[in-house]
């Protein structure tokens, strides 16, 4: 497993743990009320599990297993940029909404997430190719 994939997948697992913890508190609070403020965890619960866990896991696995150019996976810089933008975006959008931050904070989070998608696609796009192309590239 490559270094960027390790970071994506470990971060995805951390978001899974946090997202499940928020979700567990929300569901417990729904059945046996603890505190009304716990409802504010809902946006963070959704953001952490949809983007921080599911999307980030897909990105980490895709970077690891998509076809390579001989032994190379292309320019790694956009992938690291995607990692930083995605995680920054998830925290800005998720925790921003949970902590009732100004709307521009959540907007900044969403912009970071969109930037992460674009940066990731920049690396992944040429790697989505038939096997024959990999062979010809080698020659």
């Amino acid at each position: 497993m490559t270094r960027p994939s390790l970071w994506f997948l470990r971060s995805a697992l951390i978001h899974l743990a946090l997202g499940f913890t928020f979700g567990g508190l929300l569901l417990w609070n729904k059945g046996v009320p603890i505190h009304p403020l716990l409802w504010r965890l809902l946006p963070a619960h959704m953001e952490f599990l949809l983007l921080g866990w599911t999307v980030q896991l897909a990105m980490g696995v895709a970077y690891w297993i998509l076809p390579r150019f001989y032994t190379q996976r292309g320019d790694v810089r956009p992938v690291w940029l995607a990692f930083v933008l995605l995680n920054g975006g998830v925290w800005l959008a998720g925790m921003g909404a949970t902590l009732a931050a100004p709307a521009w904070v959540i907007l900044a989070g969403r912009l970071c997430e969109a930037g992460a998608a674009a940066a990731f696609a920049f690396n992944a796009w040429p790697r989505v190719k038939p096997m024959a192309l990999a062979a010809s590239h080698r020659e």
Partner: protein, 139 residues
């Protein structure tokens, strides 16, 4: 494909069908005058899809495809994977029963079952993170 992976993936497929059937019921309720309990199925629909289908499918495939834990136990500790499977599904099924029941009954039993469901699913999530973390590694 290991037995536990087949179990996770086939269970996930059952939840996939169940989630979409529940989605149809929720949308059909006002048109077909279905009983009020169906209104309580909205969050159940979403969690059947995201926990029962997506997360469980990921868990099954990750158990199968991620780098080996060790030579002796390539897929980690089987007892832990069985525990995760049991906790996740028991928790989710409890939610399927208790959440709509709570919308039509004031009995505190449903609230406590919902809290128990939260605890079981949270334990499954933490167990999965503990199970997979050591397998997120390089060669």
């Amino acid at each position: 494909m290991p037995f536990l992976t087949r179990l996770f993936v086939k269970t996930a497929l059952v939840y996939f069908i169940a989630a979409l059937v529940v989605g149809v019921l929720v949308m059909a309720r006002p048109i077909l005058n279905l009983p009020p309990i169906v209104a309580g199925l909205s969050p159940v629909y979403f969690h059947l899809l995201m926990v029962g289908w997506v997360t469980q499918l990921i868990m099954g495939v990750a158990h199968w495809m991620f780098p080996k834990f060790s030579r002796e136990e390539p897929r980690g500790r089987d007892w832990l994977t069985w525990t995760i499977y049991g906790l996740l599904n028991a928790g989710l099924l409890l939610r399927v029963i208790a959440e709509p029941a709570r919308t039509v009954s004031d009995a505190s039993l449903w609230g406590w079952l919902l809290a128990l469901s939260a605890l079981l699913q949270w334990l499954a999530g933490m167990g999965f993170v503990a199970h997979l973390w050591p397998r997120v590694k390089g060669h």
